[in-house]
C-alpha cells in the first residue's frame, strides 16, 4: 500500500495514510542499517527488551499462582528467581543503553521524544520494580514497606499509595505499571524506527570522506552481533547535493 494513497478517505483512511508516511514497512522492519551502526553498545537496548519478555512471562506465572506460592514450592522459588534475575538484567542493560545514548547525544535531529520516552520507561520501571519488591511477602518486603512509607507519606501520597496494603500494591505491580512500561517502551521502539539510528557526532553527509570509500566497498567494520558482516555496495556520495 502506498504512502501516497490518493483515495484514502475518512478518519481511518487518513490515519492509515499518516502512519504509512511516518512509518513505512521498510522502516518498521528494516533489513539494513547505516554503516556506522557497528558497536556492542547497540546490543543493550535489545537486551533490555529481551529481559522484559522474561520478566512478563515469569511474572505471569507467579501472579497466576498467588503471592504465597513461591514460599512453599521449589518450582515457584525457581520461577521467582528467574523473575528476579531478569529484572536485574533488565536494569543492567537499560542503564548501559541509557548511558550509551547519552554519550552519543542520541536526541539530535528531532529525536528528543525518543530520549524522553526512554527516560520515562526507566522511571516507570523503577516504580514497577519497587512494587515488586513490596510484593515478596517476606522480611524484605516487610522492611521495605516500613522504610518507604515515610518518604511517601512526607510528600502526601502514602495515603493513597499504601506500601503495606498488599491488595493495592498487587494492582500497581501486575496491572498499572506493567501497562505503563509496556506502552512507553512500545512508543520508544516505534520512535526509534521512525527516526532511524542517530549518526555520529560531526558525521559527514556521506561516506565519501572515508578512506577507501571512493568507488569501492569498505572491508566490514568491527560489528556487534546485530549486524551482518556484509556491507552493501550502495552508491557512495550520491546524496551530497
Amino acid at each position: 500500500m502506498s504512502a501516497q494513497e490518493p483515495d484514502a478517505t475518512g478518519w481511518t483512511g487518513h490515519a492509515r495514510r499518516w502512519l504509512l508516511k511516518r512509518l513505512p514497512p521498510d522502516k518498521l522492519l528494516p533489513d539494513d542499517q547505516p554503516s556506522y551502526v557497528a558497536s556492542w553498545i547497540y546490543v543493550f537496548g535489545m537486551g533490555a527488551i529481551a529481559s522484559l519478555v522474561y520478566i512478563v512471562a515469569s511474572g505471569l506465572v507467579l501472579s497466576l499462582n498467588g503471592p504465597a506460592w513461591y514460599h512453599v514450592s521449589a518450582l515457584g522459588r525457581f520461577v521467582n528467581s528467574t523473575h528476579l534475575w531478569s529484572v536485574e538484567l533488565f536494569f543492567l542493560t537499560m542503564v548501559v543503553h541509557l548511558w550509551g545514548k547519552y554519550w552519543m547525544a542520541a536526541w539530535r535531529g528531532g529525536r528528543a521524544l525518543t530520549w524522553m520516552t526512554g527516560v520515562i520507561a526507566f522511571l516507570a520501571s523503577i516504580g514497577a520494580a519497587f512494587t515488586g519488591y513490596l510484593l515478596q511477602t517476606n522480611l524484605d518486603s516487610q522492611w521495605i514497606a516500613f522504610e518507604a512509607k515515610d518518604a511517601l507519606n512526607a510528600v502526601g501520597v502514602g495515603a493513597w499509595f499504601n506500601v503495606a496494603d498488599l491488595g493495592q500494591i498487587f494492582t500497581w505491580h501486575i496491572v498499572l505499571l506493567p501497562l505503563a512500561v509496556g506502552a512507553v517502551v512500545a512508543l520508544h521502539v516505534v520512535l526509534v524506527r521512525m527516526h532511524g539510528v542517530v549518526p555520529p557526532i560531526d558525521a559527514a553527509e556521506t561516506d565519501a570522506q572515508l578512506s577507501g570509500a571512493h568507488g569501492t566497498v569498505l572491508p566490514p567494520a568491527a560489528a556487534g552481533p546485530q549486524e551482518s558482516d556484509e556491507a552493501l555496495p550502495v552508491p557512495v556520495g550520491s546524496a551530497t547535493s
Binding site: 542499517q33 535531529g109 518518604a151 512526607a154 495515603a159 499504601n162 557526532i201 572515508l210 567494520a221 546485530q226
Partner: protein, 317 residues
C-alpha cells in the same frame, strides 16, 4: 562548523535519512538471538544464585524472641509515646509531626486517611476480644486520659530501670492496669492470636498490613534485625536486600542522599531527598533541551569509542 547538539529538527545531517553506505541487518534475527542469550543468562543466574526469601516477622515471632521489647513497646502504645502514636497524617492528628519544606506541608494534604489509634488498635481492641484481660481493659477504659498517661509513663520508666527491661523485675509502683494489659497482650501475641486480631480490624479478608507493620516498627526488635542485615536507612536502606543479592541497585541515587549527614539527619530528610531526586529526574528527562548538559558528550568524547570504526576511517581534515 560543528553540527548542532540540540534536538531540534532542522536541515542538519542527523535530521535526514542516512544517505551513506548501509549494512545488512536482520531485526527479527537480532531479537531471537538476544532473547536466547538473555534467557540463558537468566537460567544460569537463577540456578546459581536463586533468590532471597527470609521469612516475614510476625507479632508472634517478635513476642517469643524479645518479650521485654514487646512489653516496652506495648506500654509506649498505651501511653501514646510510640512513633506510630505520634506520627501525624495519614495515620493520626498529632500536631507539628509532619515533614515540611518551608511553608509547604504536603504530608497534611491527605488528612487522616488511614486512621491509627495506637492504644486502641494495637492493645485495647485486640484484648477486648479475649476474656482473660476483661478486668484490666475495664479499668483502663474507665480512667481519664491523664490517669492513663500517668500509669503508662510510670510503667515505661520502671521498665527502663529494670534489669534487661524484664517486667518480672520491675519495682513496685502506681501502674494501674498497664502491667496486666501488656502481659495479657504478650500472651496473646505469643499464641499467634494478636496477628489475626489486629489484621481483622480491617475485615477478616483484609490484605492491609499497615497496623501490624507500624506496631512491629515501633519496637527495637524489627529495627535491630534490619540493622544486622544491613537494611536500615543509614546503611543504604531499601536498595539492599537480605543475603548477598544486588537488590534495587538502581535506587542508589535515592539512597545516596540519606548518607549525607546534612540531609540524612534533617527533620525533613524525606522531603529533601524526594525533592532532589525529582529535580535530577526532570533534568535527565529534559537533557536534550538543556545547554551544557546536552553538549557534554562533545566535550567528553566517549562517542569516539562507540563510533571508533567510523572516525578511524575518516580522511584527515
Amino acid at each position: 562548523m560543528s553540527a548542532p547538539m540540540g534536538s531540534r529538527r532542522g536541515s542538519d545531517l542527523a535530521s535526514r535519512p542516512w544517505a551513506g553506505r548501509t549494512r545488512r541487518y536482520d531485526l527479527f534475527k537480532e531479537l531471537a538471538v538476544g532473547t536466547a542469550v538473555v534467557g540463558a543468562l537468566v537460567l544460569v543466574l537463577s540456578f546459581a544464585f536463586g533468590s532471597p526469601d527470609d521469612r516475614a516477622i510476625t507479632l508472634q515471632s517478635w513476642a517469643q524472641a524479645a518479650p521485654a521489647d514487646f512489653i516496652a513497646t506495648s506500654t509506649a502504645e498505651l501511653g501514646g509515646t510510640s512513633d506510630s502514636a505520634t506520627y501525624g497524617p495519614p495515620y493520626n492528628h498529632t500536631k507539628d509531626a509532619t515533614q515540611t519544606f518551608g511553608p509547604i506541608d504536603l504530608q497534611s494534604f491527605s488528612g487522616v486517611r488511614l486512621p491509627v489509634d495506637a492504644a486502641r488498635d494495637f492493645v485495647i481492641g485486640p484484648l477486648s476480644t479475649t476474656p482473660s484481660a476483661r478486668a484490666a481493659v475495664a479499668a483502663w477504659s474507665s480512667a481519664d486520659a491523664a490517669q492513663r498517661s500517668s500509669w503508662a509513663a510510670a510503667y515505661a520508666a520502671a521498665l527502663a530501670k529494670a534489669p534487661s527491661g524484664d517486667p518480672a523485675r520491675v519495682a513496685a509502683g502506681s501502674y494501674g492496669p498497664v502491667p496486666a494489659l501488656t502481659a495479657s497482650l504478650l500472651g496473646m501475641a505469643k499464641s499467634g492470636a494478636l496477628d489475626g486480631a489486629i489484621r481483622n480490624e480491617r475485615g477478616s479478608t483484609s490484605l492491609d498490613a499497615t497496623r501490624t507493620t507500624l506496631f512491629l516498627g515501633d519496637g527495637a526488635y524489627f529495627n535491630d534485625l534490619a540493622s544486622r542485615l544491613h537494611l536500615s536507612g543509614d546503611q543504604w536502606g531499601v536498595m539492599n536486600e537480605t543475603g548477598n543479592y544486588p537488590g534495587q541497585a538502581w535506587l542508589w541515587l535515592f539512597s545516596l542522599w540519606y548518607q549525607v549527614p546534612l540531609i540524612g539527619n534533617a527533620a525533613n530528610a524525606d522531603v529533601l531527598v524526594i525533592g532532589i531526586v525529582g529535580v535530577l529526574s526532570l533534568l535527565l528527562l529534559l537533557v536534550p533541551f538543556i545547554p551544557g548538559l546536552r553538549t557534554l558528550p562533545r566535550w567528553i568524547p566517549l562517542h569516539r569509542l562507540v563510533w571508533r570504526d567510523y572516525y578511524s576511517k575518516r580522511a584527515p581534515r
